[in-house]
């Protein structure tokens, strides 16, 4: 195992975050905080609670998950796309590193940033909305698992993308709508039976539901199913990454 290589890639990626602190951390924290102010404190105070949880508190897990998903994808996809774009990928490809070590470095850094961001948003939310966490260890587990899974997904997008437009395509046109429609702002039980069934095809529902369960002990689908679905998505991403390195897809001629 080339530990030095993993550490080098990880540090390199983390140092990029610190160089772009405003863009990497401050900007998503402020934009998510605005949701807490508008939907949580301002509008939420005039709305009925859902499943015994105040509306402001109800949307906290969903909004954290929204940031977690989009940032995990952005961080990891940009991390591997940029060396491809500027040509420095030659160094990674010619180094004595395995696929696992490359992925561990890039995905590890992206997931670290996302988890840190999620925790900062969690603390910031507490300034605007009162909430509690019933299962803090499960909350952390979901946070880390989701960050790793979607960082892997982002890594795949970064390999696939051959221009900046494609890099933004999946997070903006697929992940964000799925997160909004996946129960960030409402319980899927509030939908008609037909749309409830349709919504169950949205994988983000399971992520948000499981994460919300760790906060309040209530969920749209069972926590076990949520965990299982997240693990399935993780395994799919791992399989795709394995295939990418085996075939050299968009990495090696």
């Amino acid at each position: 195992m080339n530990i030095y290589a993993i550490r080098s890639i990880y540090r390199f990626e983390m140092s990029r975050t610190f160089r772009t602190l405003l863009q990497s951390i401050v900007s998503p924290v402020i934009s998510t905080s605005l949701y807490f102010v508008v939907f949580g404190a301002a509008i939420g105070s005039h709305m009925n609670g859902i499943d015994g949880v105040s509306y402001g508190a109800f949307i906290v897990p969903g909004l954290i998950m929204l940031s977690l998903l989009t940032q995990s994808i952005s961080n990891a996809s940009f991390g591997i796309y940029f060396p491809k774009f500027v040509g420095t990928i030659y160094e990674i490809l010619s180094a004595p590193v395995s696929a696992f070590e490359i992925v561990a470095g890039y995905v590890g850094a992206a997931a670290t940033k996302s988890v840190a961001l999620g925790l900062i948003i969690l603390v910031t939310a507490r300034l605007f909305v009162a909430f509690h966490i019933e299962h803090p260890l499960w909350m952390l587990a979901f946070l880390v698992l989701t960050a790793v899974t979607f960082s892997l997904f982002g890594f795949i997008i970064g390999i696939w993308a051959d221009n900046f437009e494609k890099l933004q395509l999946v997070p903006l046109l697929i992940v964000t709508p799925l997160t909004f429609l996946g129960g960030s702002f409402y319980s899927i039980h509030m939908l008609s039976p037909f749309w409830q069934k349709v919504t169950l095809f949205n994988p983000v529902v399971y992520l948000i539901s499981g994460f919300r369960w760790s906060f309040y002990g209530v969920s749209d689908v069972s926590m076990t199913i949520s965990l299982g679905m997240t693990l399935v998505f993780l395994l799919i991403c791992l399989a795709v990454v394995w295939w990418i390195f085996r075939s050299g897809y968009r990495l090696k001629a």
Binding site: A5, T88, Y90, E91, P96, S98
Partner: protein
């Protein structure tokens, strides 16, 4: 019996076997290194039947066999698209081969990629750098990537050797093109490779920097590093290389010691400055390969320097008998560039 590997950092002067071998011809040759004249060296890169056909169907490399010796400077010459970069990219792991194998210091570059790549440093043709990183960070990053623990003293030495020390805290984006090229060399040297690939190292750099790089390459060779360079500048190969390979249309058409190549293929010419202009070459001299300049004042005689007799003495006597006087004479040898152009044209 193969020679035992010499310790790292020691220029291998092995008294036996391991001759520089050009497998295509199955001929064993002596090294052309002036400093190692009379002794044999050990192969460090062995390429067997290596070929590459891209998905588009374009065959970038036809099956190639080549051995590169430890401690030599090997220049790979060829026109654009000849396959130079493809060959280097396969050895370094950037491109997958279609067939064949490559051993780097005895390690298969595909099956034992870790051991092989640890020995190799690559300076690619394009100036591809992490624009927003500092010089120090990017060189340290490269060292770690190649599995080496942090060694600030070594990084400092590399930066000082390349005249980059006073730029170590500068972001790469602020450096000139020549400085960026040095940074790329520093990155390639950060993990103390035993084999260094320089793909067009002096493309687009000024004359001073080219000279500096030549000095640096020689200094690396002196420490036992094998240097393989591709270049368009024939004078660069002529100045630096111990051996030269010429590649054209994916085919390795020649591998030869530089000195031997120039002796074998280089033409020599004797140019006579005449006292009085000639209208034409006298009938009595028609049997000689002579050319008369347009103004009739220069007579050029082309001869084979390797032949039993150059014929110069006889020629000069015949000229004297014919009453043709000359006031000056000089001899010249065709340059590597002439040889290269003629080889590539021959195969076109």
């Amino acid at each position: 019996m193969p020679a035992a590997p010499a310790p790292e950092g020691v220029a291998e002067v092995l008294v036996v076997v391991g001759a520089a071998t050009y497998h295509r011809r199955s001929v064993r040759k002596r090294t052309a290194f002036p400093m190692l004249e009379g002794v044999r060296v050990q192969p460090i890169i062995s390429i067997r039947q290596l070929s590459k056909t891209y998905a588009s169907g374009f065959q970038a490399l036809k099956p190639i066999d080549l051995t590169i010796n430890r401690g030599e400077i090997f220049a790979l010459l060829g026109p654009n698209g000849a396959g130079k970069t493809t060959l280097i990219s396969i050895i370094c792991g950037i491109v997958n081969p279609s067939s064949g194998s490559v051993l780097a210091d005895g390690h298969d570059v595909v099956r034992e990629y870790r051991a092989a790549r640890e020995k190799i440093g690559l300076v690619p043709q394009e100036l591809t750098t992490d624009a927003f990183e500092t010089v120090w960070n990017t060189v340290s990053f490269s060292r770690g990537l190649f599995g080496k623990s942090a060694n600030p003293a070594h990084v400092e030495k590399v930066l000082r050797d390349l005249a980059l020390w006073n730029k170590k805290d500068n972001k790469i984006i602020t450096l000139s093109g020549g400085m960026k090229r040095r940074v790329m060399i520093a990155k390639a040297l950060s993990h103390e490779p035993r084999i260094l690939f320089l793909d067009e190292p002096t493309a687009g750099v000024d004359v001073d920097l080219r000279r500096d790089m030549w000095v640096m390459v020689r200094a690396l060779r002196a420490t036992g590093v094998t240097v393989i360079l591709t270049t368009h500048y024939i004078d660069e190969a002529e100045e630096m290389a111990d051996r030269i390979g010429v590649i054209n249309k994916g085919e390795l058409i020649l591998v030869e010691g530089k000195t031997a190549l120039m002796e074998k293929l280089g033409r020599r010419q004797l140019t006579l400055q005449l006292q009085a202009p000639l209208v034409r070459i006298p009938e009595a001299m028609s049997g000689y390969p002579l050319e008369l300049s347009a103004d009739g004042l220069q007579l050029v005689y082309t001869y084979d320097a390797q032949g039993e007799s150059t014929g110069i003495d006889v020629l000069l006597r015949r000229l004297a008998e014919a009453g043709i006087d000359f006031k000056d004479l000089k001899t010249s040898q065709s340059s590597l560039e002439d040889i290269f152009v003629s080889l590539v044209r021959e195969r076109a």
